[in-house]
Symmetry: C4
Subunit: 208 residues, 4 copies
């Protein structure tokens, strides 16, 4: 056996790898929670279309959560691409955000199957806000000593941290809206790029 | 802790890794949607065989989707083996095709449980066509500047892009056929290698 | 962004990676198919134990399939550790064995829920035999030109190929036994190490 | 195709990779076992809250198991970061702990759905204890010849091995408590850091 091949992976790589796997599984499990319609043989097309239309909340939930988890993965990817050193102190804050991400398929399915109700939307948006806060904590930690790559530019660090405010802003607005207009609260997530842009602009202004 | 080991992975590698995990999970989750028959103890063999025969559409759906997702993974693998540089612009088109792939277990189960009906076959083939189009967009992007490896041969790039037309041709034909002959529309996918060969031939002719 | 980091992964590595993910998912999904008993609150301990005892076939199925898939993963790991070159010809035979492995959770659940019946045991052992044959084909291919590492010893190659006969022998015996004594056919798998040892001995004798 | 890129991965890396994937899948599948409440449209908020409150045992089970599997992953990560050589002898003890980890989603769901009953809590804590013992065996093996990195410090090895006693202590106490006070036995897991600290202190005392 080739036991003298190149040296084993950087411990940081394994942490990243494990996190990627959890993100990938959570994002792919979302679809499992959508119940597959089974109609009697020969049911007219219009009934099939109606069965799919009934699932619209589930499709919307799948779509929103796919892109939200995708956004968290993107942030994780950006932040860790600026890191270069490993220390055990990363493990707990990293597991914390993964725990929140792993819970997303439940929150999504609960919202989808009770679409338009106050509690499910509030729970979903609350989980999103909690994930975003855990994400910001991790991003800040990993782009700071002792983890950060000494060669990382101050601007890259500042922008990466600022991006974390995007989902926080959108999710906080969504939580508030879900108390008064549950169904429409999900649209608040459209504002995520807005908060992100504002935060990045402020971060850049501070740097110069 | 060995914090001075070799440098962390290339950001492109992490994107590839995450994508591989999503492909692998989607391809393995297909089987979960097949309902396991549970017969009373001592049921005659013929009833067991009949229960399996009833599941034939599910087995067909599993098999088709396994190889279709496998084909998309192969295309992704080929295209990214020609890339060498990373930029954040890859993330959204890559998540877009993963979103379509993650939806495949639902489309497969819906078609399998309503085999022979127009709407389920049309939906399945439509999802396939959408995935193929998103795939072609990604393959073109990643084999172009700034991502492509400068050492990649023009022919490899042309052939890799041409291959993307295979599923597009087969799925487009299947969508049309599913409107008139749902059950037989799945056979249209057999033409995928044909369109692929034609597209590769044309691409090579253009090069010389 | 660090776009000048070390070069992206070897294409062989990505194929291995994707395969590992499919093996890992299939091996972990096995448990999902076991139905969780839910007894009325305050049910006596003896009823809880009885509910678990009823699941014994499912536990046995989980355990057998976990180690069988583990054995296939081990064979894959061994064979690919002798490979060093990549060519697209590996993709189809590799996807073929992954397709069979991805089907194992269904075959396992079907056998577990109809324990002792002829058809489910025959199907399970048949799937196992098919997987073992696809595995042998892949192992032979990857330990041959153009894939094999030129530095790999002839003995390592011969032994790795010979190991593939272990599951083939055990599964073939189990298929035959499941026709006459379904329940006991699973014990035939205990003979796997025997066939493996015999095949390795013969391979070594041929070499010297 | 770039068949002359850097050499394929170290066989140790592939073993680690496969293990990471199993840990990641088991930790993310936990949520799938939680049944999503589906209430009639327009049900009052208080009923939604009550439905969530009924799921409290499931949330508790998810949370405990997430962090317990996370702790096993952390231990695996630490131990293997001290290893540098590969030999086939690692495969069986590594698969053994993965088998126990893959079983955790079942044990968790069974405990959650029968919360407060003796048998489910005893089973859960028993599985935990078995996993912890298999973990200690693996950690000891991988931090010993021929696997251990010759450059690993004696203290790192001693501390990493000592940490393995944490879950063993907590789980053993929980098994005993589940026989007399099932519901409260889960709190015994809070003592895990205590046993870990004691074991590390003793290990360091022995070294000096």
């Amino acid at each position: 056996m080739a036991s003298k091949a190149r040296e084993p992976a950087h411990p940081l790589e394994r942490l990243i790898f494990f996190s990627d796997a959890v993100f990938a599984i959570a994002i792919t499990l979302l679809v499992i929670e959508i119940q597959v319609p089974h109609l009697p043989r020969g049911a007219p097309d219009i009934q099939q279309v109606a069965a799919l239309a009934n699932l619209l909340p589930s499709f919307v939930g799948f779509f929103i959560s796919f892109w939200v988890i995708g956004a968290f993965w993107t942030g994780h990817h950006r932040a860790f691409s600026l890191a270069r050193h490993y220390a055990p102190g990363l493990i707990v804050p990293n597991l914390a955000i993964l725990c929140a991400v792993a819970f997303m398929p439940f929150a999504t399915a609960y919202m989808s199957e009770n679409f338009g109700e106050r509690v499910p939307h509030a729970l979903y948006n609350g989980v999103l806000l909690a994930t975003a806060l855990l994400n910001l904590r991790l991003v800040r930690k990993v782009t700071d000593t002792p983890y950060v790559d000494e060669a990382a530019s101050a601007e890259d660090v500042a922008v990466t941290r600022a991006r974390g405010w995007g989902v926080i802003g959108g999710a906080a607005l969504a939580v508030l809206m879900s108390l008064v207009a549950p169904l429409w609260s999900q649209f608040a997530l459209i504002t995520i790029p807005l908060w992100m842009t504002l935060a990045i602009r402020r971060a850049k202004a501070r740097l110069s």
